[in-house]
Symmetry: C2
Amino acid sequence: MFDAIEKLKEYIGYQSVSADSAYKEGMGQTRDFVAKMLGDLGLSVEIVNTPKHPIVMARRTGDPSWPHVVIYGHYDVQPVDPIELWETKPFEATIKGDRIYGRGAADNKGPQMAHIAAVAELLEECPDLPLRITFLIEGEEEVGSPSLLPLLEERKEELSEADFVLLSDTLSPSEDQIAVTVGLRGIVDMEVELVGPKSDLHSGLHGGAVYNPLQAMAEICASLHTPDNRVNVPGFYDDVTEVEEWERDELKELGADMDAYAASVGVDALHPIAGYTPFEAIRYMPTLEFNGLWGGYTGEGSKTIVPAKASVKITCRLVGNMKPDVVGKQVADAILSRVPKGLKAKVKMGHKGVPYLVVPPDRPNTPAGQSEVLANAYRATEAAVTDVFGKKPLFLREGGSIPIIADVKRVTGLDSVMIGLFLPEDNLHAPNESMSLEVLKKGIQVSKRILKSVAGV
Amino acid sequence: MFDAIEKLKEYIGYQSVSADSAYKEGMGQTRDFVAKMLGDLGLSVEIVNTPKHPIVMARRTGDPSWPHVVIYGHYDVQPVDPIELWETKPFEATIKGDRIYGRGAADNKGPQMAHIAAVAELLEECPDLPLRITFLIEGEEEVGSPSLLPLLEERKEELSEADFVLLSDTLSPSEDQIAVTVGLRGIVDMEVELVGPKSDLHSGLHGGAVYNPLQAMAEICASLHTPDNRVNVPGFYDDVTEVEEWERDELKELGADMDAYAASVGVDALHPIAGYTPFEAIRYMPTLEFNGLWGGYTGEGSKTIVPAKASVKITCRLVGNMKPDVVGKQVADAILSRVPKGLKAKVKMGHKGVPYLVVPPDRPNTPAGQSEVLANAYRATEAAVTDVFGKKPLFLREGGSIPIIADVKRVTGLDSVMIGLFLPEDNLHAPNESMSLEVLKKGIQVSKRILKSVAGV
C-alpha cells in the first residue's frame, strides 16, 4: 500500500536546490529516490542526462490503442534563504495540524505526489489498467527548465504520440475553489544599459552640462506607459486576442473583492490598464514591468555625482498571439528610438516564452478537432473536482508564465490539464512553505478519477 | 630654509583618511605634523577639539592695526580605493618628472603647502612683517566639515575681526590659465523612497494590477525636468539672479571648445538648460541631479517581480539667492504631489549649503563698502598670477559647492580669495592623485606676493 504522506515526508527530506551547486549530492539523492519510487510502481525508469540535473522518465507502456498520459513534475526546489525565518527545518518535513511543512511541500513535491499516489493506488486496484503513463520529472524547473526543450525535441516522436499532459504546478484561490489553469501568459525579458559620460562626474563641476543617465533612464521608462497604464510601444497590442464570454463568466464566479485583494498585497489602490478590472488585466492583458532599476550611488549618505550609466530590467508578459521575438524587438526599438543625444543604449534580450491557451471542451470556441481523450480528461476533471472538493472548478487563465507548457504544445502538439493544488497560504518560494494534507488527499482522489476516466474503466 | 617639497613629501606620507576610523592613528600623526610645522614657523598653535578630528589653528598675532588674513586648508584626504589602480603607493610621495604623486597631493596638502611655504619664506625674509595670520587647518573636509560651523560660531568674535580668507582648494583650467573662484553653487540633497506593495510581488501573478514602484519612480523623476532641461518644480527659479556682463566676458575668455569638453567627459552631445551654453549652465544656473536610483532586482539574470519599493538620491545645486530649505521643500512638495495612488513616499533631507558669490574690486557691481584689504588682496592676486604664471587669472564662478565658504561669510562676514592650484589632470578623489611641482612653486610665489601686498611691504 503506497503511503503518500510518508513518501512526501521522505521526498521533502532530500535537499534538492537546483540553483546552488552545493546541493549536487542532494540533487542526486532526490533523483534516486524518485527513480526508485516510480520503479517500485512497476514502471521502467530512465535517467536522461542533461548538462545540469538529469530528468527522470518513467514509463508504463502498453497497447498502442490505450490512451497515453504524460505526468509532469519537478524534483528540484527553491533555495531556503532566509533560513532564519523558518520555524521548522526546511529539509525535515514537519506535520503541524493539517499541514506538512518543508521546502518543496507545495512546489512541487506535494502536488506532484498526488499524481504519483493516484497512479500507485490505481495500479494496485487495477493491475491491468488500459492506460499508458509517462512520468517526466525534471530537476531544473526552478532554474528555468533549460534542458526540457532539448528533451522535447529529442523525444518528439514518442511524446507527440501521447494524448495530453497532466500536472499540478499552478495555484488555486482556495481549497473551496479549485482552479484549472487554461491559459498562461508568455514572457520576454530584457536588460537595458544606458551609458552617458565615460565615468561618474562631479555633479558640481559638470552638473547642468551633461545629460544625466538616470534622468534619461527615468524619461525613457516613464515613456513606456500612458497615463491609463497602456504600454506605449508601437504595435505592442497588435496580437492581443479577444477574450470569450465564457472566460469572463468563469472569472466573475471567482469573485472580485478588490479591497481584499489590494489589502493582501498591501496597497491602498490598484492600477490596472484602463477598461479592465485588476483580475482581468492580470489574466487577459500583456504588461511591461520594471523588475529592477539601478545606477549611480546607492549607499548610505550622499555622493554628488552625475553617474556614468543606468540599467533597467524589464519583463513583458504576453497574451494571445503575441510573439516574444516580435514584442522584444518592438520594446527594444521603442527604447532605442527614445535615447537622447549624448547617451548610448545597449539592450540584452533574456528568456522568452510564448503565451499558452487551451480551450476546454463544450465551449463556443472549442477547436473542432480537439482530441476526445483531452476532452474526456477535462470533463473528468470538472466532475472529479466538483465531487471531491465540493465545488465546480473554475477554468481560468493565470497571469504567470510556464514557458515549458507552451513549448510542449509547440513541439509535441500536446495540451496540458493543469489542476491547481497549491494555495495562496502555502508560502511558495518563501520561508515556511507548506501544503494542506487535506488538499493532498483530495488531489489524489481527483487524479485517480481523471486517470480512470481517461482509461475508460 | 623651509623646503616645501620635502615638507609636502612628509605630509603626504601621513595617512589621514577622515572617513575611515581605521585611520585614527594616521589622523593624529598628520595633525601633529601640521602643528609642529606651523609651530616651527614661530606661530602659536592651538588644537581645537571636535567630535571627530580636531582642527589645527596657528596664529601670528600682532598690532591690531595690521591686516589679518585667515589661511584655510584641510589635512584630511579622500579614501584610496580602488587601491589596485594606483601606480605608486598612495601614502608614499613619489616624484616622477615634474609631478608629485600620492593621496592628498592636490587635495589639499599640496595647494595648502603653497601658502604655508609662502608664510615660512616671508617670515624668514621679513621677521617684522606687519601682518597677522591665522591658519585654520581642519581634518573633516572630506566628510562635510561638520565641526567647522560650530568653530566659526564659537570663535566668531576673533575671526570676524580678520580681513579675508585665503585658500587654494579649487580648480584652475590649466597651468596657463589660473582661475580665481568668485562664486560657488549652494547645495541641498535629499533621498526619496517610494513604497508600493508590502513585499516584492510575482510579476506574473500580480503584474498589471499593481502600480509598479519603479514605474512610478521613473514617472516622477521624468516629471522633474522639461524637454528644454529646465527643472519642472514650481518656484525653483524664483531666486536665481542676473549674471553681470563682466562675468560673461571672463567666461568668454576661458574659451569654450564644447567638442573638446564633451570629449573630455566622454559624451557626443551636451545637454544644458535651454538658453545657456554648457559652461554658463554649470556656473550660473541651478540643477536638479539624480545621483543614485535603485529598486527591485539588480543582480545577474532576471527575477520576475513587481518590486516593493524604489529609491532615488537627488542633489540640487543652487545659485543667486536660492535657499536650501526653500528649494528642498519645493522639490519635496513637487515629488509628494506627484505620487500616484497606491504608493507612499518618504523624503529625507540631507546636506545643505547656500550659494556664495564675491565681487572683486573695480567691477560695476562691486559692493560700495568692500574692504580695502580684500580689494587689495584681489588686485594683488591678479597682478601676481599675471606675473608668475604669465597670464591674467580669470575670476570665475565654479559649479561646485564649498558650503563652508558661504558659512564663513554668513557667520564672520569674511569673503574668501580662492586661487585654483589644482588642475583637471591632478586626479582628485581618484587613484594616482598628483600635483605639478611647477604649479606648487609658482603658487608659493603668488601667495608671497599677495601676503606682502596685503601687509603693505
